[in-house]
């Protein structure tokens, strides 16, 4: 295996004593002090994440929007410039290549942000599907570093530290801003269920911005807290709630699929699945006794295995064991009594909605 890449902020992480692990080919900080502390900092004040491992792809050309709407299962053409749209790319059979953010820059340009673990696969898929579209598709991941500043005080900090008033920047929109003399792309987006921003810039820009945030006392947070935060907000993660074996309908993400569009890759399969009905779907689960449901643990009703945990934790905010779970549709109704097999023990649980906590977005 090739040597892990280092992000621009690698030396910072090591100097802070972070526990470093390879994630998607990058040495990334998993935790600096403790996951619960980092998690709570984001829920209560603000925290910052190095997410430079994320992949970025630039699509340019006369047919940029038509092309993106061909490979992207959500819709971009009708949106205003400056809008960010969450959605997925699908295979012809309706399963998921990856989930991603599409930044609509102009009528001839989009900026796509994809999962680090899928960047190579996604880029190949995007290139393979350019067909007769007049576009150029470029993997620009190496040009960008990225920081996420997340939490209810994120906006206040951006003003205090950089004099940047972002009160008019709406949820899921972006703009080009100057921070410490650097041009950056900044969006009101995130992966924590809190208000906050994601900042994309060249490596020097991101390093200087990160250091300024650090000097202001913002808590650095690792990928451990990133996962517990996104989970509580019931945001899907590739390889868990979504994958190349799961469709968006099964994952409960229909609201991010523009089924009314005339065409996109995978639409036919989803239309058929809609017509036939789902055999399984991702729902929420809450345990009635203590135990921690972890990914892959089987779920039963009586002797029948009816599904599996996709992600589960002892929720840090709610202090109770909850999970997202893939269940056969006939058992997916709220209130259904089931059991999770945890380390050879059957722990009673019930099906619930995935709204584990109220999202704190600034709309």
């Amino acid at each position: 295996m090739a040597e892990s890449k280092k992000t621009t902020l690698y030396d910072y992480h090591v100097a802070k004593g972070a526990k470093m692990e390879d994630f998607a080919g990058f040495m990334m900080p998993i935790v600096y002090t403790s996951i619960p502390e980092e998690h709570k900092a984001v829920r209560e004040k603000a925290g910052m994440f190095d997410v430079s491992h994320m992949g970025e792809v630039r699509v340019k050309g006369k047919d940029a929007l038509a092309y993106v709407d061909h490979v992207f299962a959500n819709e971009i053409t009708s949106k205003d410039n400056g809008k960010v749209v969450y959605g997925m790319m699908l295979y012809e059979n309706g399963t998921i290549v990856d989930d991603l953010l599409v930044y609509k820059v102009s009528d001839t340009e989009c900026f796509l942000v994809v999962n680090a673990s899928n960047t190579g696969k996604d880029y190949a898929w995007l290139v393979a599907n350019t067909g007769n579209y007049d576009v150029t598709v470029e993997n620009v991941s190496d040009e960008y570093s990225q920081i996420a500043l997340q939490g209810p005080e994120a906006e206040e900090y951006m003003k205090k530290i950089f004099g940047l008033d972002l009160s008019d920047l709406a949820f899921y929109t972006f703009g080009n801003f100057s921070i410490l003399g650097h041009e950056v792309l900044l969006s009101r987006t995130g992966y924590t269920g809190e208000d906050g921003f994601e900042i994309y810039g060249d490596h020097i820009a991101v390093l200087e911005i990160w250091n300024a945030l650090d000097h202001a006392g913002i808590v650095p947070c690792g990928l451990g807290a990133r996962d517990t935060l996104r989970f509580e907000a019931s945001l899907p993660l590739y390889g868990h709630e979504i994958s190349d074996k799961i469709t968006p309908l099964e994952a409960g993400l229909k609201m991010f699929v523009a089924l009314d569009k005339t065409d996109f890759i995978g639409k036919k399969a989803l239309d058929e699945q809609m017509e036939k009905g789902l055999t399984r779907r991702v729902v929420g689960l809450e345990l009635k006794e203590m135990g921690i449901p972890r990914q892959g643990y089987p779920v039963y009703q009586d002797a029948e295995e009816i599904g599996y945990i996709t992600t589960g934790y002892l929720s840090i905010t709610l202090n109770k064991p909850i999970a997202m779970v893939m269940l056969k549709t006939e058992y997916a109704k709220k209130g259904t009594e089931v059991s999770v097999e945890i380390r050879k023990r059957m722990v009673p649980a019930f099906v619930r909605d995935k709204k584990f906590l109220q999202k704190n977005y600034k709309k």
């Binding site: 998993i30 403790s34 996951i35 619960p36 451990g224 203590m290 135990g291 921690i292 002892l314 380390r343």
Partner: protein, 126 residues
């Protein structure tokens, strides 16, 4: 840097044993183990009265991210479990050599000779 403590015996799977008298010991996990695990959020312990066998599963210590099996370093009967850990499992992080999991009545005192000394344990937990 993780530490081993004086007056304790150790296992290769990072449990410790503290002899209290001729036939009773406390069992816990080492500083190295807690540092590897991260913040402990749940401890799954046996009931008092349970018969343990050396090297067999005793219970589990779970951090935010993962469950880690704990193997019994000795054979014997569980006399008592540390109920304090139910409400405050993070005591294992804060003071691993005080936060014992179970108190065990030994079946065979000679088993203690199979455990690692502090010096030997330090060699494998660097």
């Amino acid at each position: 840097m993780s530490k081993a403590a004086d007056g304790y015996l150790y296992t290769e799977s990072h449990e410790w044993v503290k002899p209290l008298d001729d036939k009773t010991v406390l069992v816990g996990i080492t500083d190295y183990a807690q540092a590897q695990l991260g913040t402990v959020v749940f401890v799954d312990l046996p009931e008092a009265g349970k018969q343990l066998k050396m090297h067999e599963e005793l219970g589990a210590v779970e951090s935010v991210k993962a469950a880690s099996d704990i193997y019994s370093p000795v054979s014997g009967k569980v006399l008592e479990v540390n109920e304090d850990l139910v409400g405050e499992p993070e005591k294992i992080n804060n003071d691993p050599y005080e936060a014992w999991l179970v108190k065990v009545e030994l079946d065979d005192k000679s088993e203690l000779q199979k455990l690692l000394s502090k010096a030997d344990y330090e060699k494998i937990s660097k």
